[in-house]
Amino acid sequence: MCLAVPAKIVELQGTAATISVEGALREVDVSLIEEPRLGDFVLVHAGFAIHKWDQSEVDEWETIRRGLEVAGSGGGG
């Protein structure tokens, strides 16, 4: 239940944002994070962005995911 998924902000209006999770769009509330901007990667839980990743953190996540694909493990979450 404490699952939170990384998602990209693709639209932003005040504290309401549209996020994209691998292409699926969803409205979320961004009032709990500081200075949300278009293009930011955020962790989303129960309709709220609860954390914002900076670029180095996005890169780290992508490296970990890529490493998994190479290892053939798949999955993750």
Partner: protein, 356 residues
């Protein structure tokens, strides 16, 4: 990834004894099974599952109270999907919905506020379960309803908090824990400093881990390194999301709406200071006083050992009901119902992997 596995092997040799590492969070349990991670660990390193599945630790009498509410003709119960199939003493929310009760599954607590706006003649009761990750989102929905002047939105709150539950497990004579893989998304909100007292008071190392298989392996390596060195510190593996102080805005919102209380955990019992109750200021949104909710003594299934599973005392394989009388399609206990319940994980990913 294999380098980490190799280091884990070396560290396990240095430690030279069996160690129990508790992954507190149900999402960690699921991630470990899904990736086959347990099979990569040395035979002396045991991952044991903890109580970090909110649905699993929600008391049966709470489910009974929610069921009693949804039977009222003027009430719509809104809930996260995980709770739908959890058995109460006699029924489940899913069964009640099939029998005609209005029970709606929502994605966010704010969806329940929208339901209240759309249905002014009905009372909307949101089932507020979840740990520190979820509590701020429920607090936000109460503030939203308050600002909108809604008089038909209520929360039946049973939020729980992790640190004192983890502490309670350290007092349990039946469980020996050598290190905690701390819940990643709880700690996004609370900050990692929250666990410091566990290290200082009990000398148990804590590492906050992420949810990719690599994260969990790395967290395991960091715990073993601490054990091998005789250290007990709070360390953060999941540093891309977790800071020492956490999400301050979310903490403030939680403190605005909720206050600490003692809480009953299914299978564990009462744990002081491990729950959140709605403050008097927002009592108009608290379903308990506002709608006169009563919690009656529950009648859980006598053979169900979810409580022992949640404390890490037994694995699901040691429960007589597991896989026979109790399956995901016909569950007796919440650990088989929730998508992140330990029994559901063991059932889904098979005994071979689970036995490692």
């Amino acid at each position: 990834m294999m380098v980490v596995v190799q280091r884990i092997g070396e560290l396990a040799q240095r430690v030279g004894r069996d160690v129990n590492l508790m992954e507190v969070c149900g999402t960690h349990t699921m991630a470990a099974f899904r990736s086959g991670l347990r099979q990569l660990l040395p035979s002396t390193v045991h991952l044991i599952s903890g109580p970090g599945c909110p649905v699993c630790v929600t008391d049966t009498n709470y489910i009974d109270a929610a069921i009693a509410l949804c039977r009222r003709p003027d009430v719509i119960v809104a809930t996260f999907g995980d709770l739908m199939r959890v058995p109460g003493s006699e029924s489940s929310l899913e069964n009640e919905r099939a029998a005609g009760a209005e029970v709606r599954v929502v994605y966010s607590p704010t969806d329940a506020v929208a339901l209240a706006r759309e249905n002014p003649a009905k009372k909307i009761v949101f089932l507020g379960v979840g740990f520190e990750t979820t509590a701020p989102t429920v607090a936000a929905s109460i503030v939203l309803a308050s600002k909108a002047g809604l008089q038909n939105f209520f929360v039946l709150a049973a939020h729980k908090t992790m640190p004192h539950a983890m502490e309670a497990l350290l007092h349990d004579q039946q469980v020996k824990i050598d290190g905690f893989i701390c819940p990643g998304h709880v700690t996004v909100i609370t900050g990692a400093a929250m666990y410091r007292f566990i290290c200082e008071k009990y000398r148990i190392p804590c590492v906050v881990g992420g949810f990719e298989p690599f994260d969990m392996l790395k967290a395991t390596e960091m715990l073993l390194a601490q054990i091998a060195d005789g250290r007990a510190d709070v360390e953060v593996e999941y540093s891309r999301s977790v800071s020492d102080r956490g999400n301050v805005a979310a903490q403030k919102l939680m403190a605005e709406v909720f206050e600490e209380c003692d809480a009953g955990w299914r299978g564990i019992g009462n744990i002081p200071r491990s729950g959140l109750t709605i403050r008097m200021k927002y009592a108009a949104f608290d379903a308990v006083p506002a709608l006169g909710v009563r919690f009656e003594p529950a009648r859980p299934h006598p053979g169900c050992r979810c409580g022992d599973v949640l404390r890490g005392v037994i694995t699901p394989l040691e429960c007589k009901l597991f896989g026979k009388a109790c399956t995901p399609t016909d569950p007796f206990g919440p650990c088989m119902v929730s998508s992140e319940g330990t029994c559901a994980a063991y059932f889904k990913y098979g005994k071979r992997q689970a036995a490692v």
